[in-house]
């Protein structure tokens, strides 16, 4: 069964926020599977709903946000139905998160050791000396030198890279099955970023947890991810293996995104940006979210959301252009593509 392989399955997730200007549908029918021990990359631009998808899994949305519909299956159980008390256990023990900014996610008035022990005491039955030992062990694991001395220090005495290491130590202290990393290296310099990414890969191999890596950086995704989902306007445009997405993109947005980053081939030439401006979530188009910026847009793109369809090489994309090409080449029958689901 496929379900045994997948530690987390998100099915048709809808998350929205109520604001003064109306309801913002940040996540609009997102589905993905996370295999145990694999790294899933979620890539997209600001406002694409990538972070909100991750926060929905943890159920740590802002007060004005809520999951409207859909299922989040953790080991086959729908956690959206769990009471808050059970979710508290889920966070930390089953699934942890590290955030973008290591400067603001640590409390400045408590020592590193106190904050680490807090997480350990809350989720395990280790106390006192035992908890401290675990804290030291965790700091050692993430490569903080002299952990015994450093647990008595405050966050301001740590550099950005070191703070992110502490955050990782904290997240992994209770050995979760899933680690969500929300732009974990965006605030760091490239050489420090390389250190942290290497650390995450090492720990993943050592501890065997699955990682959901949320980022806008295609370079980071290329290095880290086994599977990738590309999001735009709260929807999944395309999902597949890293090779599928980078070498055989099928959705016009993915293609545009890959064309707009400078690489060896583009040196000395003009970049080919995606035209237009980012989507306004308050004013979503009726059809494909990317349609207003798409050079290949057709009439149907304006009117109807494209269903998720299997691409010729077996990954998934939601694009009318691709569906049309497949119908023309006889790969799928038109009636298969007329539905709204997969």
């Amino acid at each position: 069964m496929a379900e045994e392989k997948n530690i987390l399955s998100v099915v048709d997730l809808h998350t929205s926020f109520t604001t003064d200007k109306g309801e913002v549908q940040a996540v609009n029918g997102v589905s993905f599977d996370l295999e145990a021990g694999k790294i899933l990359g979620i890539v997209g631009e600001s406002g694409s709903g990538k972070s909100v998808s991750a926060y929905s899994v943890m159920q740590i949305l802002e007060k004005n946000g809520s999951i409207k519909s859909g299922q989040i299956l953790y080991k086959g159980e729908d956690i959206t139905k769990w009471p808050e008390k059970r979710m508290r256990d889920f966070r930390g023990k089953c699934c942890s998160i590290i955030f973008q900014d290591p400067m603001t996610s640590l409390n400045p008035v408590f020592t590193i050791g106190y904050q680490l022990k807090e997480a350990i005491k809350l989720h395990t039955n280790r106390k006192g000396k035992e908890a401290e030992e675990r804290a030291v062990e965790m700091l050692e694991l993430v490569g903080v030198n002299e952990p015994r001395k450093r647990i008595h220090q405050y966050p301001f005495e740590f550099s950005g890279g070191m703070r992110q290491r502490v955050m990782i130590a904290m997240a992994l202290a209770c050995e979760p099955d899933i680690l969500i990393a929300d732009e974990p290296t965006t605030a760091l310099d490239v050489t420090i970023q390389a250190q942290i990414l290497e650390l995450m890969q090492d720990l993943q191999k050592k501890l065997g947890m699955a990682i959901i890596m949320v980022t806008h950086d295609l370079g980071v995704i290329a290095q880290m991810a086994d599977e990738i989902i590309v999001m735009y306007g709260g929807r999944v445009c395309e999902r597949g293996s890293a090779e599928d997405i980078f070498y055989r993109p099928c959705h016009e947005y993915t293609k545009g995104l890959l064309r707009s980053i400078p690489n060896v081939d583009s040196m000395g030439k003009r970049l080919q940006p995606i035209s237009g401006t980012p989507i306004n979530l308050l004013n979503m188009p009726k059809g494909c979210a990317f349609c207003p910026r798409c050079d290949e847009a057709m009439k149907i793109c304006l009117e109807k959301q494209p269903p998720e369809t299997r691409t010729p090489d077996g990954h998934f994309a939601s694009c009318w252009k691709m569906i049309q090409a497949e119908i023309e080449s006889g790969m799928i029958r038109p009636e298969d593509a007329s539905g709204s689901g997969t």
Binding site: E45, S46, S159, G161, M162, D189, V190, T191, I192, Q193, A194, Q195, L197, E198, H216, D217, L218, G219, V220, I221, A222, Q223, A225, A242, E243, F246, Y247, G256, L257, L258, R259, S260, I261, P262, N263, S266, M267, R270, L271, Q272, P273, I274, S275, T277, P278, R293
Partner: protein, 326 residues
């Protein structure tokens, strides 16, 4: 300052031994100089782009700001078009030297309309003959950066990040400068928008012949836009070369590790490439190591590195490196 220093007439901008120290309070009554920029020299030709890269705290932004005298440099000479840039001359030179800032959200006054933002430099330098002329110039600038004329009466908050950056660029272009310092001008933008703005910078350069000092931390972007690239580490310049040369044949150990640390947007290359991961963090600029500032993280460091800072020397074809061992 070296009053006898003679700039090369072919250079639009020439910087010689620029130093910028800030005094930082380190205790009751005691201050320590923070050497943000410590003896940096370079030159930019008319219509050329020089990329300036380095990690946070290496002094790249300070170079840009000291260059157009938003800071008063502690020491060193800056020349623009053969003229010395100092407190006296900057008033008349600032028309020719402009700046685009990183954050398109905080660098535009929220109480001013787009027309007023772009028109302000024109007002300051009295660059129009009549109200109609002012308006015409503003509309021309807006067209140049790809904004519609009907945007003129709107406020900055009504625009997206990419469009705001265009407003900032139009403002910088208003005085018809020959040189623009772009301080992380595309860093805050999304990938697809970033490409639009990069193309615009290139188009404007071709059309108007402006030279850029392009300060950024994204090496792929800098490589794309720059003709030459300079690499800084802790206030010192460690390497400078043609963009392609630097990428293919980096010499300074810091440049080598910096380039290898860039995650390349291609899974096969990114997963297979050998990274040279630097140990540890950048030392605090308040407690600078003696000699070469990079020696604490450098695998080739020797006794000599601790003694003396190596000079930037030409290793052929203008490839300048400051390292004892390479």
């Amino acid at each position: 300052m070296d009053m006898n220093y003679k700039p090369d007439q072919e250079n639009l901008v020439e910087v010689n031994n620029l130093k910028m120290y800030f005094s930082v309070k380190t205790g009751w009554l005691s201050t320590t100089p923070l050497k943000a920029v410590d003896g940096v020299s370079f030159a930019i030709r008319p219509g050329e782009t020089l990329g300036l890269v380095g990690e946070s705290g290496c002094g790249k932004t300070t170079v840009g700001r000291a260059l157009i005298r938003l800071y008063t440099p502690t020491d060193g000479d800056v020349f623009f078009d053969g003229k010395r840039v100092d407190a006296k001359s900057i008033g008349s030179l600032r028309k020719d030297m402009q700046m685009v800032f990183q954050d398109p959200y905080s660098s535009l006054n929220p109480r001013m309309t787009v027309e007023d933002i772009i028109g302000e430099p024109l007002d300051v330098h009295k660059m129009y003959t009549s109200k109609a002329d002012r308006r015409e110039q503003i509309l021309y600038l807006m067209e140049l950066v790809g904004l519609n004329a009907e945007h003129a009466t709107r406020y900055a908050h009504e625009f997206s990040g990419g469009q705001r950056q265009r407003i900032g660029i139009a403002r910088a272009l208003a005085t018809k400068p020959r040189f623009i310092v772009c301080d992380e001008a595309v860093s805050a933008l999304d990938v697809s928008i970033q490409a639009q703005v990069i193309n615009m910078f290139e188009d404007l350069q071709q059309k108007l012949g402006v030279a850029y000092l392009f300060i950024a931390h994204d090496l792929l972007v800098v490589h794309h836009i720059s003709k030459r690239i300079a690499v800084m580490y802790l206030g010192k310049m460690v390497e400078m070369a043609d963009a392609d040369e630097l990428n293919e044949n980096p010499m300074h150990p810091y440049t080598v590790s910096l380039l290898s640390a860039v995650p390349y947007p291609d899974p096969k290359i990114a997963k297979s490439s050998k990274r040279i991961i630097l140990k540890g963090d950048v030392p605090s600029p308040l407690h600078m190591p003696s000699g070469c500032p990079f020696r604490t993280r450098c695998q080739y460091a020797t006794e000599q590195c601790a003694q003396e800072m190596p000079k930037l020397t030409d290793r052929g074809n203008g490839h300048m490196v400051a390292c004892w061992n390479k």
